[in-house]
């Protein structure tokens, strides 16, 4: 039996080429609309960008806070975009998602989000974004391949304050890290937006 394919995200590898943004429009479940996020962290100080796809939480906050019960999970654990007949455009999911993933569009009065290209992944194909990502910041493949080819390890356990969230999608972290803590407080105290260039400078100052 072949190894299952999983999604891995590695923001530090992102080169900001926007191939994922364009490819996302090809997804059959939201044809013509790109739902992936590509954030420029601090244009003045770094070229760092970061992609954001849905992490597909095991217990999705977005689905729980939906008053219309419009967000469903497939048997494979993929958290689907809002069901069109049900979504009432309240934006609860947009504000509640700890990863900041759902997008709200006012004209169709509907939330749309990444559903891991369910029309493709449900039949064994790779999601569009992972197919076109040249630096493999977004990667869809067997875990063994990621573990063999990358420094660090995949992790799918996140902490937001007192809330621990497990996801279907993995992020690459250094060995020894067992929980990815969203350290918002640190970034506030050091001033936001905080750049990776600053982190690199700080690290190099410590080395010297």
């Amino acid at each position: 039996m072949s190894e299952p394919l999983e999604f891995f995200i590695d923001p530090m590898r992102c080169i900001g080429c926007q191939a994922c943004v364009s490819a996302c429009r090809e997804c059959g479940t939201h044809r013509g609309t790109s739902v992936i996020h590509l954030e420029v962290i601090d244009r003045m100080r770094t070229i760092q960008t970061t992609p954001m796809v849905c992490m597909h939480c095991v217990d999705p906050t977005c689905a729980e806070v939906c008053p219309a019960d419009a967000i469903k999970q497939t048997p494979e654990g993929v958290v689907l975009s809002s069901l069109k007949p049900r979504c009432i455009g309240c934006e609860n999911c947009v504000i509640a998602c700890p990863f900041g993933v759902p997008k709200y569009d006012a004209l169709p009065d509907q939330m749309m989000k990444c559903d891991q290209c369910y029309d493709r992944t449900s039949i064994g194909l790779r999601p569009w974004c992972a197919t076109v990502c040249p630096s493999r910041a977004l990667y869809f493949g067997p875990r063994s391949q990621v573990e063999a080819q990358r420094r660090g390890k995949p992790l799918n356990r996140f902490r937001f304050g007192n809330e621990v969230v497990e996801t279907k999608v993995n992020i690459i972290v250094p060995e020894g890290v067992d929980e990815f803590v969203f350290d918002v407080a640190a970034h506030i105290s050091e001033g936001m937006p905080h750049s990776v260039a600053d982190l690199a400078l700080a690290a190099s100052a410590e080395d010297h």
Binding site: T29, P108, G161, E163, M192, S195
Partner: protein
Amino acid sequence: MLLRFNRAALFWSVLVTGALVAAIVVGSRRLQYFDAALVPYTFASIFTLFGLTYHYATWLQRPPTRRYWQRTWEQIRQGNVPLRLGLVLRRLVTHILAQSFIWHRSRLRWWMHFTLFWGCVLAALVTFPLVFGWIHFATVPGHPYVYQIHLFGFPAGTFAPHSLLGWVVIHMLDFAAVLVLVGVGLSFWRRTRDPDALAVQNFYNDLLPLLILFAVSVTGLMLTFSSLWLRGYYYSFLAQIHAITVIGGLLYLPFGKFFHIVQRPAQLGVALYKKVGAEGESARCACCQAAFTSQMHLDDLKQVLAELDFHYEMPPGSAIDHYQNVCPRCRRVTMALTQARISGREFL
């Protein structure tokens, strides 16, 4: 067995269903104008209303739904009442009757949904008053070619059955059936081609309701066909088949996809909620200070999250007290920054 029911939902179901039964008795003048041949439809309608109310009442008990429900009634009563009611009424016209938001989702979907919606509304407006005995027709004594309309037992106009108006009135359900069939056809066309529909649709939720609507419409049209061109051949058999399809559709209503019909008006409450929120204080991101929603929305959401047993509160001594005070963009950026921080590496 009784204990397994949701008591509040059961209470409302019994109350609303009782009100319908009372309305049938009163509206048909103590069943004087009630058509006994339509009894199966009446019982199916009563059961459907019971199921719909029960489902609706349990749905309202979900923390996020309950919050919006309470807020809607609260906001309608407060502030400038005519202005707020005006907003709700405008939305009723643009979003429920004209379904403009579906137009922006897809033109094909709009045509499909618009024909289905108005076909079903037209059919419901004709069928239910007839079934409940609220409307009936009688010939005017001495004038066999004039029909008298009785509304709740009171005379409410006349029409000649062989006039254009008469033809339209008599064939109203045929027009409804044609509209529904157009919608069903467009829907089937989309569902056999659209990659989105093909990936996520299932028989019970997406195809069965279409099959029900198709069966109801076709058997209804067959009744007209039989009476107009077959001299009533097989009419009673067809009438029974039609009744089975209609009753099947009514019984499916509270449990399947059709439940969204009664859910959709919640969109009006949400529109009012957003409007009131926009007029009030904005919630600003704890990181970038940008306004990202209304303070009312954020406060309500935090309360709903707590009710749902989510704990996004930050530990004591943290720079912020709640993770939800951070805007969605800063959450996305924080993921990359945190990865860089714990990796201690430069980009690439």
